[in-house]
């Protein structure tokens, strides 16, 4: 009976041969997430500050961004070729491009072509590939390059062309092409840095000149001297929202970083208004916002656990504020991030999770 019932469908049943069977460890499914997708989304988020930078600093800024990105990708390709690593796969993961764009947004808009070149080599070779490539680098490659350039070429790295519309307030389309002028200006932070400090408790701040409501509005919108990507705060915040929505950064890092800077500078400003400008001034000037969103949050060089991220971000905030208030450098975000990157292995150790079931006694929570 079963002979017949089996034979009937046998002819039109297609049975597998097993030739294509692959054995592998479980699990056999995976999420659609890919490293290259993550990098692509980061690039998308970076497009906002980049566009704002181009809007304020003209096509020259676009050229710098393009050049740095190309150099970074090229540096990665050359290293992979020399180290006999797969070139195409390494380039296509997109990490070099992300590093390139972040580095470019950290450069002054009018740097000569060799600055992106040196930066790219520093970032990709010294900052990343020498450690074994993506994921193994303890320091953020873009930050390594930026600090390296800042130390090696201080004059170029601290010459800031004035943004378009510096005087009129907002740039207009008419000016877009004519803006390649050599008018330089100081960043608000560097002006603050050169002002004399006074520890007089009751002095009404001489920072009033650079730290008032009108100017802070202007600073926040991006109309100030500075690196390409760091000036326009709304663009950065938009990028941050995008990154958090995509679950690409730990939201604790930017919040705690910016919050710590605000608290530290706020406390100092409250007691000694002659020492440092208001916290609001600190938030909207310099690279703080950009660094807090795009540089400190780099997955590779930030602690893995939430607690670790908080420790890391608070550390970054404290060091940034200390350097800004008392240090020689007007801006301290890169140094702070670099220093805290070095602390990450220790933070990871200290903030290791308590694995499930590792308590002295099981707790009764429900029922």
């Amino acid at each position: 009976m079963d002979e017949t019932s089996k034979n009937v469908p046998e002819n039109d049943i297609k049975l597998p041969t097993g030739e294509k069977l692959v054995v592998s460890s479980s699990p056999h499914l995976s999420s659609p997430e890919r490293t290259s997708k993550i990098m692509g989304r980061v690039l998308l988020a970076l497009a906002f500050p980049a566009a704002a930078g181009i809007w304020y600093f003209g096509l020259r800024a676009a050229w710098v961004i393009f050049l740095t990105t190309v150099f970074c990708v090229a540096a990665e390709a050359v290293w992979c070729k020399l180290a006999r690593k797969p070139v195409k796969a390494t380039i296509l993961d997109g990490s070099a491009a992300v590093t390139g764009v972040i580095l470019a947004l950290n450069l002054p808009p009018h740097v000569p072509f060799y600055v992106p070149l040196i930066g790219a080599v520093l970032a990709i070779w010294i900052g990343k590939q020498i450690f074994g490539g993506l994921g193994y680098n303890p320091f953020n490659p873009a930050v390594v390059a930026r600090v390296g350039l800042l130390i090696a070429l201080p004059a170029i790295m601290t010459t800031w062309p004035a943004p378009r519309g510096m005087n009129s307030g907002y740039p207009s389309f008419k000016e877009f092409k004519t803006s390649v002028d050599a008018v330089t200006c100081a960043t608000p932070l560097s002006i603050a840095g050169t002002m004399p400090k006074s520890t007089d408790r009751y002095e009404t701040s001489h920072f009033r000149k650079i730290d008032n409501v009108e100017l802070i509005k202007k600073y926040a919108l991006g109309c100030k001297g500075g690196c390409i990507g760091e000036t326009c705060i709304p663009a950065i915040v938009f990028g941050a929202i995008l990154l958090v929505c995509f679950n690409l950064i730990n939201w604790r890092v930017p919040i705690c970083y910016v919050g710590t800077v605000a608290i530290v500078t706020g406390v100092v400003n409250y007691f000694y208004p002659g020492v440092t400008p208001s916290p609001l001034f600190h938030l909207v000037t310099g690279g703080l916002m950009f660094a807090a969103v795009f540089m400190a949050t780099d997955m590779v060089t930030c602690p893995i656990t939430g607690t670790g991220c908080v420790i890391f971000a608070v550390g970054c905030g404290v060091i940034t504020s200390v350097i800004r208030i008392w240090g020689n450098y007007p801006e301290g975000v890169s140094f702070a991030i670099l220093f805290m990157n070095a602390l990450v292995p220790l933070i990871d150790k200290a903030s290791a999770l308590r694995p499930f079931g590792h308590t002295a006694k099981p707790k009764e929570v429900a029922k």
Binding site: K20, L21, V22, V23, S24, S25
Partner: protein, 282 residues
Amino acid sequence: MSTIVLVSVIVMGSLGLLLGLVIGFFAKIFKVETDSRVDLVAELLPGANCGGCGKAGCADFAKSVVSGENPPGKCPVSSAEQINAIAMALGIDAGGGFKKRAVVRCGGDIHQVARKINYNGVLDCASASLIAGGPKGCRYGCIGMGSCAAVCPFGAIELVNNLALVHPEICVGCGKCVSACPRGVIQLVPIESTVHVYCNSPEKGPEKRKNCKVSCLGCRKCEKTAPEKFKVEGFLAHVQYDAPVLPTEEDVEAVKCPTGALLTAARHKEIETNDPEFSVNE
């Protein structure tokens, strides 16, 4: 002028004396008994810390040599002169006959394995062997992903055509690869031996043949030709490494192994490195 010299001498001298006394005092209260011979032996050892002697490292081995637990000759890395130097220094017998080297008892390179399985995962033998019995059809042969090469402290193992190959001139026989191999394919053999059976599968002949062209079929041809040198257990021939006379090239020629599992080390290496398509049957 002379007074300043005098003063300097007095100052230096008194300070030196004072510090000397303090050190002497500390040396007295924190006295530690050490056997200087241990340091001496440790210095004479190669310091590779390979663990081939069975101890945790060279310092540990030095301790065991001084205590008489191990003869110096147990160190697989040291040359004969070095071992003699240690024996002389301690005035004990060098002890010998421990010199071994590793051999990978498998000839199943990528061209010989008949049944391949699509494997996807970590490229490491031990990890691969955990997944559905590994990527090659044979469950006993070399997996060919180089776990042994990765642990070899001397760089003596090379991967050729997905098969591990020990370079006998570099290998010191520390045995790290033996414990690294999840299949137990690697064996330590006396350094003088030149002939090996390049198969490790205890399966029945036809089963093996399905998986691999150069497996030992257990035909007993070798055992019949030279019973004191070869022995077939189950379906797998073994070279009798503890026999008084080890097999030589002549024995291999006399046996004429039908699958080519029985080979001299030199011939095996030649086949694997020079002529990947080689097969004895052709």
